[in-house]
C-alpha cells in the first residue's frame, strides 16, 4: 500500500482552504454582483472595494456565541452543519483540477485521489447533502425550519433524478466514469465539448441545459431557493443557527456551488482543456487555469441568475422537475443511446 502521507495531508489542507476561501470570497462576489444589478455599491468600507470584508465576516462568525434555543434536539442540531460540510470536502477529494500545464511540473495532475468511478463518488456524496437540511430543519423545533426542510427534501429528491440521468448520458458517450477520461475525450477544441451538438452528439445542448437547471436546483440557488425563501420562511432550515453552525451551512452551500460548477465544466465544457488549443496558444493546451476560469465564469452566471430571476413557487418547481425535466432527460438518454449505436453502423 503506497501511502504518501505528505501528499495526503497537503491535499487535505489545500481542499479545506480552497473550500473556505471560495465560500468567503464568493460571498463577496455575490454581494458585489447583487449591488451592481441593483445600482448600489455593495461592500466598500473594509479594504479596497470591500476586499477584506469576508475576513471580517469570518472573524465575526467565529467569535460569536452559539445559541441553543429551548426545545431543540441538541445532538442532531450540532451534527447537521457537519453533514452539510463533510460530503462537500469528500467530493473535492476526487475532483481533478487538471495538470499544471507549465513550468517544471507541467504534467502533475492536481487531484487528491482520482477514482475510476469518480463521477459516481461525487453523485453519491452529493445525495447525502439533503440529510443535513433535513436534520437541521427538524432538530431546530421551528415551524419555518421544518417547512423549509420538507420543501428542500422534495426539491432535492425531484431534481436528483434528471441530474443523474443526464450524467449517465455523458457516461455513455465517454464510456467511462473516470472524470479525467471524460475530460480527455473532449480535448482538442471547443467543438469537441460534450454540450456542442457536433461530433454525433446531437442531444448535447439538451443535456447541458437539463444538467445546469438541476445543478441550480440541487444547490438550492435562486430562482429555486425555496428552502430559504427569505420573504416566507425567515431563513429556512438555518433560522435557529448562529455562529459557526450557520457558518458551516453557508460554507457547505458555496462549496456545493463550486462542486456543481466543476462537475458541469468536467462533463460538458471540456474540463481543463483549452477551447482553441491550436489557434490561440494561451495558457497551454490543458492547464488547471482553464478549469478555474471556466468554473468561475459558470459561478458568475449563477450569481447573475440569482439576482435577475424571481423565485418560482413550490408547485411550478416540482412540476418543472417531474413533468418537464425527467421526461426530457429520459428521452435524451434513449436518443443518445440510439445515436451511439446507429451512427457507427452508418459509418459516421
Amino acid at each position: 500500500m503506497d501511502l504518501n502521507l505528505v501528499h495526503m495531508v497537503l491535499f487535505l489542507v489545500g481542499i479545506i482552504a480552497f473550500a473556505a476561501g471560495n465560500a468567503a470570497y464568493l460571498v463577496w462576489v455575490e454581494r458585489k454582483g447583487a449591488a451592481r444589478i441593483q445600482r448600489r455599491t455593495g461592500p466598500c468600507e473594509v479594504g479596497p472595494a470591500g476586499l477584506i470584508q469576508p475576513l471580517a465576516d469570518g472573524a465575526k462568525l467565529m467569535s460569536k456565541q452559539i445559541v441553543f434555543p429551548d426545545g431543540i434536539d441538541k445532538p442532531l442540531f450540532m451534527l447537521a452543519p457537519m453533514f452539510a460540510m463533510i460530503p462537500a470536502v469528500m467530493i473535492f477529494v476526487t475532483i481533478p483540477f487538471g495538470p499544471v500545464g507549465f513550468g517544471p511540473f507541467a504534467d502533475f495532475m492536481i487531484v487528491a485521489r482520482e477514482m475510476n468511478i469518480g463521477l459516481l463518488m461525487i453523485l453519491a456524496f452529493a445525495s447525502v447533502n439533503v440529510m443535513a437540511l433535513l436534520l437541521g430543519g427538524w432538530s431546530s423545533k421551528n415551524k419555518y425550519a421544518v417547512i423549509s426542510a420538507i420543501r428542500g427534501v422534495s426539491q432535492g429528491i425531484a431534481f436528483e433524478i434528471p441530474l443523474v440521468i443526464t450524467a449517465i448520458t455523458i457516461v455513455m458517450i465517454s464510456g467511462s466514469m473516470q472524470l479525467s477520461t471524460i475530460v480527455e475525450a473532449q480535448a482538442g477544441g471547443f467543438w469537441n465539448w460534450n454540450w456542442m451538438p457536433l461530433q454525433g452528439n446531437l442531444f448535447g445542448p439538451v443535456s447541458f441545459i437539463v444538467f445546469f437547471i438541476c445543478f441550480l436546483a440541487e444547490t438550492n440557488r435562486a430562482p429555486f431557493d425555496l428552502g430559504e425563501a427569505e420573504s416566507e420562511l425567515i431563513a429556512g432550515f438555518h433560522t435557529e443557527y448562529s455562529s459557526m453552525g450557520f457558518g458551516l451551512f453557508f460554507m457547505g452551500e458555496y462549496a456545493n456551488i463550486v462542486i456543481g460548477a466543476s462537475l458541469t465544466t468536467i462533463l460538458f465544457l471540456g474540463g481543463w482543456t483549452s477551447p482553441f488549443p491550436e489557434f490561440v496558444p494561451v495558457l497551454g493546451a490543458s492547464s488547471f487555469l482553464w478549469f478555474l476560469l471556466k468554473i468561475y465564469l459558470l459561478i458568475w452566471t449563477v450569481v447573475l441568475i440569482r439576482w435577475t430571476y424571481p423565485r418560482v413557487t413550490l408547485w411550478s418547481l416540482l412540476n418543472l422537475a417531474w413533468k418537464i425535466l425527467i421526461p426530457f432527460a429520459l428521452i435524451n438518454l434513449l436518443g443518445s443511446a440510439v445515436l451511439i449505436k446507429i451512427l457507427p453502423m452508418l459509418g459516421l
Binding site: M1, L3, N4, H7, D73, L120, M131, L135, I157
Partner: protein, 179 residues
C-alpha cells in the same frame, strides 16, 4: 516529497480505519434501535449505512460502497425521515407497552443468537480469500447483471415498475385538482 512509510505503519492505519468503520456501524445500529425519538433512530440508521458503505469499500468494491451511500443514505433514509416528519410531528409522549415476559425472553434470545454466531464463527476454518481484482468492478457487475442474471435484472425492474404504478394509484385518489 516522498516520505517512505513502512508496511507496518500502513497496515496499522488501514486496520484503524477498518475498525473505525466497524465501530461506526455498530454505534449506528445501537442508536437506531435504542433511540426514543424516531428521527434520532433514522439518524442512527444513516450512520449505520455509512459504516456499512465503508466496509464494502474494504471488501474491494468501491462501486457497491458508493451505491450503498447513494441509495440507502441518499434515498431510503431520507424517504423514511420524510415520512416520519409528515406523520408524527410530536412524538414525545409515546410509551410502548411491553408484555411482562418480553424482557427476559429478549435476553435469552439475545444470548442464544450471540452464542450461535460466536460458535459458528469461532468453529469455522477461516481461509484467506483469493485476491479480488480491483480494476473493472463495474464491468464485472454490469456483465453479470446482463448475462448470467439478466432474468433477475428484468424481474427486479418489473417489481419496481409495479411499485411505481401502485404508488401512483395510491397518491392519485387522495389529491384534488386545484394545484
Amino acid at each position: 516529497m516522498n516520505i517512505p512509510i513502512s508496511a507496518d505503519m500502513a497496515s496499522i492505519v488501514k486496520e484503524g480505519v477498518f475498525f473505525g468503520f466497524l465501530i461506526v456501524t455498530v454505534v449506528g445500529a445501537l442508536l437506531a434501535t435504542c433511540a426514543k425519538r424516531m428521527v434520532r433512530a433514522v439518524f442512527g440508521l444513516v450512520v449505520c449505512f455509512i459504516g456499512v458503505a465503508g466496509i464494502y469499500y474494504f471488501l474491494g468494491s468501491p462501486f457497491i460502497s458508493l451505491m450503498q451511500l447513494m441509495i440507502y443514505v441518499g434515498a431510503v433514509a431520507i424517504t423514511i425521515a420524510f415520512a416520519i416528519m409528515l406523520a408524527e410531528p410530536d412524538e414525545d409522549k409515546i410509551e410502548a407497552k411491553t408484555p411482562p415476559l418480553a424482557g427476559p425472553f429478549a435476553v435469552v434470545l439475545g444470548v442464544a443468537v450471540t452464542w450461535a454466531l460466536a460458535a459458528a464463527s469461532l468453529g469455522a476454518k477461516w481461509m484467506n480469500p483469493a485476491p479480488v481484482e480491483k480494476e473493472g468492478t463495474i464491468t464485472q457487475v454490469g456483465e453479470a447483471l446482463l448475462t448470467n442474471y439478466s432474468m433477475v435484472f428484468e424481474l427486479v425492474s418489473i417489481v419496481l415498475l409495479i411499485a411505481i404504478l401502485g404508488s401512483l394509484v395510491v397518491a392519485r385518489s387522495g389529491r384534488d385538482k386545484s394545484c
